[in-house]
């Protein structure tokens, strides 16, 4: 029970007591979480505002809520007891883009406040942006855990696009990268893009400097995205499914 006092949960299927109004629902959970009655109204109003719902919505019954609103109030009740552990199951599903941004901000806030967030989602691009570590599960078992970038300190892939150049070859790139203590991970493709692995921001700067000094016409450099997707598919192939 001590565990439950420190946990907030947002389920995937939003099966709430539909007859309650938004505020009533929050007050109910506030009370069940054994939070003090004196601050109840204020706390609930605050968290309602935090998730982007106004007081009018708070008065309407949950029956009338749209999917996005339900998702928001779901997150609200999960945040009520300022939990140490936050479990979110598909939190952004059905939420409009503004809401998704809001959620990201709220989660970042929670994380900054020391909350450990366990997020379950199929939206790999969102996951990639928010998470520090990712676990792939198959049949209920953890298949792999990847540590993703957490800012400047983390390893990442850099996708660099080049302009037309006669001496533009994968071998040359590979040599230059090795000299900058980076690694050519994907050789040049027809779109004149190559992917390098760098260990942090400093290494990225070194690499780009090395490429430019080596005469390579660097046109564009960006962090590789869709990495999780690749990893996921790779994992699937590995199991032979």
């Amino acid at each position: 029970m001590g565990v439950k006092a420190q946990v907030g949960f947002l389920p995937e299927r939003l099966l709430f007591d539909r007859w309650m109004s938004g505020m009533r629902f929050l007050r109910y959970h506030h009370a069940l979480a054994n939070l003090p009655a004196e601050s109840r109204a204020a706390d609930c109003a605050a968290v309602l505002e935090k998730v982007g719902l106004d007081a009018h919505a708070g008065r309407k019954s949950l029956k009338t809520y749209s999917r996005g609103m339900l998702q928001r109030i779901g997150l609200a009740q999960a945040l009520l007891n300022k939990p140490r552990f936050l479990f979110l199951d598909e939190p952004a599903s059905g939420v409009d883009p503004a809401g998704v941004l809001l959620f990201r901000r709220l989660l970042a806030e929670a994380r900054a406040g020391g909350t450990t967030i366990v997020l379950n989602s199929h939206q790999l691009d969102q996951v990639e942006r928010i998470c520090d570590r990712v676990a792939f599960l198959r049949d209920g078992k953890v298949q792999a855990i990847e540590v993703l970038h957490a800012g400047a300190e983390a390893k990442r892939h850099l996708r660099v696009r080049f302009g037309a150049f006669d001496d533009l070859t994968s071998e040359a790139l590979s040599r230059l990268a090795a000299g900058a203590m980076a690694e050519l991970v994907h050789p040049l493709n027809p779109a004149r893009e190559a992917v390098f692995a760098v260990s942090d921001d400093t290494a990225a700067t070194r690499l780009l400097a090395a490429l430019l000094q080596g005469g390579m016409p660097v046109v564009e450099a960006r962090s590789e995205e869709g990495r999780l997707e690749r990893l996921f598919l790779e994992g699937q192939q590995a199991v032979g499914s």
Binding site: M1, G2, K4, A5, V7, G8, F9, P11, E12, R13, L15, F16, D17, R18, W19, M20, Y28, H29, A31, L32, A33, N34, Q77
Partner: protein, 239 residues
């Protein structure tokens, strides 16, 4: 017992127009004989036996746990630091309380027609006991089957007892009749608890056994309700 759960259950139950309408109907019909006696001199002025205590319990307690499990709504409630037995008891107690308060209403007109106060008080007590006991039975059944199936089960059980009663009176074979009587008298109290206290005012002596039947039935079904609720997995991952 948890105050928040009690309030939520109270609000939820009273918001149902069907339940309230049925309850009003039962209260009205139970008070009929006394209201009529107010105006019609020939009506006998005595307490009539009435099943409204148990009926009111049925009205409010039907699906008290089963419907919740079917809808999945308690999944968030169960993430809170609240023991499930408190949730079960709070819900059941609230239904029992509503039913009990309504169960004593039909006897107020009886006060006006000169029925002795002790008989009225005993009748009220008896109805409350039946209301509470029936709530426990329904809660227990509700924890086992989904939705409102508990009502169907109880209806089926009562039909079964009716049939047993017929057998007990009409079968030719003495032994078969004895068996039917024995079955009915031993199984029926578990599903259809009754307590006649008005007889006490007429000179019957107190039966501890009758009281213990009611109390043990209540305890039994509530323990079942808690045990089943404790085991319940609301995870939808297993669908």
């Amino acid at each position: 017992m948890n105050k928040e759960i009690v309030l939520a259950t109270l609000e939820q139950r009273l918001r149902s127009p069907v339940r309230c309408a049925l309850a009003a109907a039962f209260v009205f019909f139970a008070s009929g004989p006394y209201l009529i006696a107010l105006f019609v001199k020939a009506m006998p002025r005595e307490i009539q036996g009435s099943p409204h205590g148990g009926m009111l319990a049925l009205v409010f307690a039907a699906g008290v746990l089963g419907q919740e499990f079917s809808s999945g709504a308690p999944q968030l409630t169960f993430t809170r630091p609240l023991p499930r037995w408190q949730w079960v008891l709070s819900r059941a107690a609230t239904c029992a309380a509503i039913a009990s308060v309504l169960a004593i209403l039909p006897y107020f007109p009886a006060l006006l027609i000169g029925i002795p106060l002790d008989q009225i008080a005993l009748a009220m007590l008896g109805q409350v006991a039946e209301a509470v006991a029936t709530t426990a039975v329904v809660a227990g059944l509700s924890s086992i089957v989904p939705g409102l199936t508990d009502l169907a089960l109880l209806a089926g059980a009562n039909i079964g007892f009716g049939i047993l009663g017929l057998f007990a009176n009409l079968l030719r074979d003495d032994q078969a009749r004895a068996v039917a009587t024995w079955l009915k008298s031993h199984i029926e109290p578990w599903f259809s608890p009754k307590l006649d206290l008005v007889g006490l005012a007429h000179g019957a002596s107190w039966s501890s056994h009758a009281l213990l039947v009611i109390l043990s039935t209540i305890a039994f079904w509530l323990v079942i309700a808690i045990a089943m609720s404790n085991r319940k997995e609301l995870s939808y991952a297993t669908d």
